[in-house]
């Protein structure tokens, strides 16, 4: 299985870079790790007090870019919500059903409850579906640009549909 994947992927890699003119026997391995090099980069540029070049403000935003940062945003948001819940569990005196009834008693109608459910369901759905898309990338599948967009739109559609379905439960 691994051999098959390796053979297939190596074929793909060979065919994708025909313009290499580097002779293998003159390739010199570096003595530093990527982590070391990154640290050196940041140390030097911080020491010289260099400003950062504009990037987010000038580069044209694309759907894959927005989906990527949304994946990160939902991840951080969900993690924060779980941590907040855990801290509340430790700090607040009452029990969970008590607080649930409290919230229920001051809600202003079914639409707000539905909206709240959608608000919880959407980040979970999006992060889950996009997470599966990430795992597909991790096994090497779906990197061609049309595939990236197709899977991206599928994730968005699935997330919206799943969240609406869950909110209506």
């Amino acid at each position: 299985m691994a051999l098959l994947l390796r053979t297939l992927a190596r074929q793909g890699v060979c065919l994708s870079k025909p313009q290499y003119s580097i002779f293998y026997r003159h390739a010199v391995p570096m003595g530093t790790t990527a982590k070391d090099e990154m640290n050196k980069f940041w140390d030097k540029n911080a020491r010289l007090n260099r400003p950062m070049s504009p990037h987010l403000t000038i580069y044209k935003w694309s759907v894959p870019m927005m989906m990527s940062i949304t994946h990160r945003g939902t991840g951080v948001g969900l993690s924060g919500a779980i941590s907040a819940f855990a801290v509340a569990a430790l700090v607040l005196p009452g029990s969970y059903p008590y607080y649930l009834d409290l919230i229920h008693s001051l809600s202003v109608g079914p639409y707000l409850i539905g909206l709240a459910k959608f608000g919880i369901a959407f980040p979970v759905s999006y992060h889950t579906y996009n997470g599966i898309r990430h795992l597909c990338w991790d096994i090497g599948k779906g990197f061609k640009i049309p595939e990236v967009y197709r899977t991206g739109y599928t994730v968005i559609a699935l997330s919206v549909v799943t969240s609406i379905a869950l909110a209506m439960l």
Partner: protein, 176 residues
């Protein structure tokens, strides 16, 4: 330069011991997959030279990152193992959703607490690596994260033990 074992890696190593069975299973696939991404400059056969470069009198040299397979022992596998463990945990968490729905209870409550906390801890760890630079700031951020994750896990376990538990909590929330 070898990667030293520092507090972050030691903590990850602990989790890796827990994940040892999964890592062993995935190691067969891993060796076949992860070397791919940096072996593109290390093909075992000579590359085809395009016509316009054949007239060059001198040979080009390239400085490349060596793969772990070729320089055994010259680097630590901690980063690679961490990567695999992150994906294994993600897959486990995916499976836990339906299982928790069909078999709610204390086993799923505590499993979810552990898996969610660890997935979040490693995820925020990647965010810190991306945006926080400079050794003292990174150390501070990682320490803060460790504290947050510990409190989160403690709080979730407390909730599972003294209150209704995660599975029941979600069910109750949705029954409103």
């Amino acid at each position: 330069m070898t990667q030293q074992l520092h507090p972050g890696n030691a903590g990850d190593l602990g989790w890796c011991i827990i994940m040892a069975a999964i890592v062993r299973l995935s190691s067969v696939c891993r060796r076949g997959i992860t070397p791919l991404f940096y072996q593109s400059t290390l093909l075992a056969r000579p590359l085809v030279v395009p016509h316009k470069h054949q007239e060059q009198p001198h040979l080009l040299t390239a400085r490349i990152h060596s793969s772990q397979a070729l320089h055994a022992g010259s680097g630590s596998k901690a980063a690679s193992l961490h990567w695999t463990a992150e994906r294994a945990l993600s897959i486990m968490l995916l499976a836990m959703g339906p299982v928790a729905y069909f078999s709610p209870g204390p086993v799923m409550d505590y499993s979810l607490a552990a898996a969610l906390t660890l997935h979040g801890h490693w995820g925020i760890g990647q965010v810190i690596t991306d945006y926080v630079h400079g050794e003292p700031k990174v150390k501070l951020a990682k320490a803060g994260l460790f504290l947050l994750s510990t409190v989160t896990f403690a709080g979730l376990c407390y909730f599972n033990y003294n209150d209704v538990g995660i599975c029941k909590a979600v069910a109750l929330l949705w029954s409103k």
